[in-house]
Every structure is written in structure tokens, then in C-alpha cells.
């Protein structure tokens, strides 16, 4: 720990978000396994749980954690490979937070809007759209 400087928080958040995303990944591998080794119907039942309002709110935490971990990871790599970057630790940490929030707001909107009956998703509305 670094006694309350930005480094302490960036380090702590990196660990917490990393463990959170890992936990989701393990759950996600199990729920995807339903599709191959159980049945499509059971998979669709599980999907209905993922589409409820409560799980949508939980997935907001997942999105925030992924974005923070990604941008803070870039900060760590910058400092590792470009030693002069340490002079901008505080600015870079603020940059990480700004990017996380800037990415989170629009993505979170798409995830939460269906709770209120809006479907801003995709060119086909809430129909599946494949690239």
C-alpha cells in the first residue's frame, strides 16, 4: 500500500476488478457449457435469468470492472516499459478513471434501458443481429 496516494487505489481496484471479472468468467464458462452438454432449452432458461433487471444491474458492475481493469492495465504497461511515465502517475490514474466512466455511461445505458421498456439495441431493435 502507498499511504493514500493514487497508486494505492489503482492497485487495490485492479485486484478487486480482476477477481470480480475472473469470478464472472468461471460462471460464464459453466452457463455456456449448458448449450453444448445439456440442452438449448436449459440454456435459454439460464439466459432469461441474465435478462432480468437485477442481473442487468449486476452486469453493470461487470462492465465497469472490465473497463477499469483494461485501462488501468494499459497504465501499468506504460509505466513498466517507459520509466519516465512515473512522473505522470496521478494524471494517468485520473485518465484511467475518466476513460472508464466515459466508456461505462453509453454501454451501461444499453444494458439498463430494457428494464424501462426501451430497446435501443442494434439495427433490428431487440431482434438478434449477427455480424
Amino acid at each position: 500500500m502507498y499511504r493514500g496516494q493514487s497508486g494505492q487505489w489503482s492497485w487495490l481496484f485492479h485486484r478487486i476488478t480482476g477477481m470480480g471479472v475472473l469470478l464472472f468468467l468461471l460462471v460464464h464458462i459453466v452457463d455456456i457449457t449448458l448449450i453444448g452438454f445439456v440442452s438449448g432449452k436449459v440454456y435459454d432458461d439460464a439466459l432469461r435469468v441474465f435478462s432480468t433487471g437485477i442481473v442487468r444491474l449486476v452486469s453493470l458492475a461487470l462492465i465497469a470492472a472490465v473497463l477499469y481493469h483494461a485501462f488501468n492495465g494499459v497504465r501499468i504497461i506504460l509505466v513498466d516499459f517507459w520509466p519516465a511515465a512515473h512522473k505522470f502517475q496521478r494524471q494517468m490514474f485520473i485518465g484511467v478513471l475518466v476513460l472508464t466512466i466515459a466508456g461505462f455511461i453509453p454501454m451501461g445505458f444499453f444494458v439498463v434501458a430494457p428494464i424501462f421498456g426501451h430497446c435501443p439495441t442494434g439495427p433490428n431493435g431487440c431482434q438478434p443481429f449477427l455480424i
Binding site: 477477481m19 475472473l22 438449448g40 435478462s51 492495465g73 513498466d80 439495441t121
Partner: protein, 157 residues
């Protein structure tokens, strides 16, 4: 005995000293497993930024999560590109996460025995979850007659 030697030559005595280190950790140079682990976390991390964020956009923004149904997956997995994409995502994300957790356990487990138990458990879960995920991605075959057969049927539905 060591104490008397230190007292005899006080200039050799090592005082605890704070060393300024920037970043999460200094670059390892041993060339062994820990060096590989250090580089793997960073290289896989850079790839995962793109792989994970594109995956999130596809499954939670471009498509609503409620639309990623069984038939959605059937249509998607007709294209081997997405199977390869998902396999790469799994193969990078799972060891990245579990190796990160191993490094966290290094900080909190001080006895060799507990480390051995916990880290062996992490390694076994890596094998278990990777096999589970990759077998699903590679071997998945749709049940005939459940979903529209073509890609376009799915999109225009």
C-alpha cells in the same frame, strides 16, 4: 555469530531501506517461469482489451443480452471465425485471470503448504474450466429442426 560479525564491521550492517519502485513491479530478468508469467500477463492483457471489449459490445450493446438465445448461438457458430474468436478469448482470459489470482495468493499465503494446496487448486481449475469451455466451443452442434437453418433467416426474423 552473525551478530558479532555485524557488530565488528558496522559499515556492512544492512539497514532496512525504502527503494523507490515505480509501477506495479519491476521488470523481472531471471528468464524463468516468473519472467514468462510477467510477460504473459502483459501480452495477453493487451490482446484481451480488444477481444473482451468487442465481445461485450457484441453481446450487451449491439445485441441485447436477451437476444443472445440458443438460435443466436447456432447461427453465430455456423461461422468458424466466431468459434476461433471465442476459443482465443477463453485461452487468453482464463490463464490471465487465474495467474493474476496466483500472484494475489502469493501476497497472503505465507506458508509453503498452503501455497502448494491453493496454487495446485488454481492450476487444476485452469485445466478443468479450459477443457469445459474449449470442448463446448469446438464440439457444439445444433439440434436439427429447432432453429431457422440459415444465417439470413436469423437476421431478418
Amino acid at each position: 555469530m552473525a551478530t558479532t560479525q555485524q557488530e565488528a564491521s558496522p559499515q556492512v550492517r544492512r539497514k532496512p531501506r525504502l527503494v523507490a519502485a515505480y509501477g506495479s513491479s519491476s521488470k523481472p530478468t531471471s528468464g524463468g517461469w516468473e519472467t514468462f508469467s510477467w510477460y504473459f500477463l502483459r501480452v495477453s492483457g493487451v490482446a484481451l482489451i480488444f477481444l473482451v471489449i468487442i465481445h461485450l459490445l457484441l453481446m450487451h450493446v449491439i445485441n441485447d443480452v436477451s437476444a443472445t438465445t440458443y438460435c443466436f448461438v447456432v447461427a453465430r457458430y455456423q461461422n468458424p471465425f466466431w468459434r476461433a474468436y471465442d476459443l482465443l478469448l477463453l485461452t487468453l482470459a482464463l490463464p490471465h485471470g487465474l495467474n493474476g489470482l496466483r500472484i494475489i495468493t502469493d501476497d497472503y499465503l505465507h506458508s509453503r503448504g498452503w501455497r502448494l494446496v491453493v496454487q495446485s487448486g488454481l492450476f487444476l481449475s485452469l485445466l478443468f474450466f479450459w477443457l469445459m469451455g474449449s470442448m463446448t466451443i469446438i464440439t457444439f452442434q445444433p439440434t436439427p429442426g429447432v432453429c431457422p437453418t440459415t444465417h439470413t433467416a436469423m437476421v431478418s426474423r
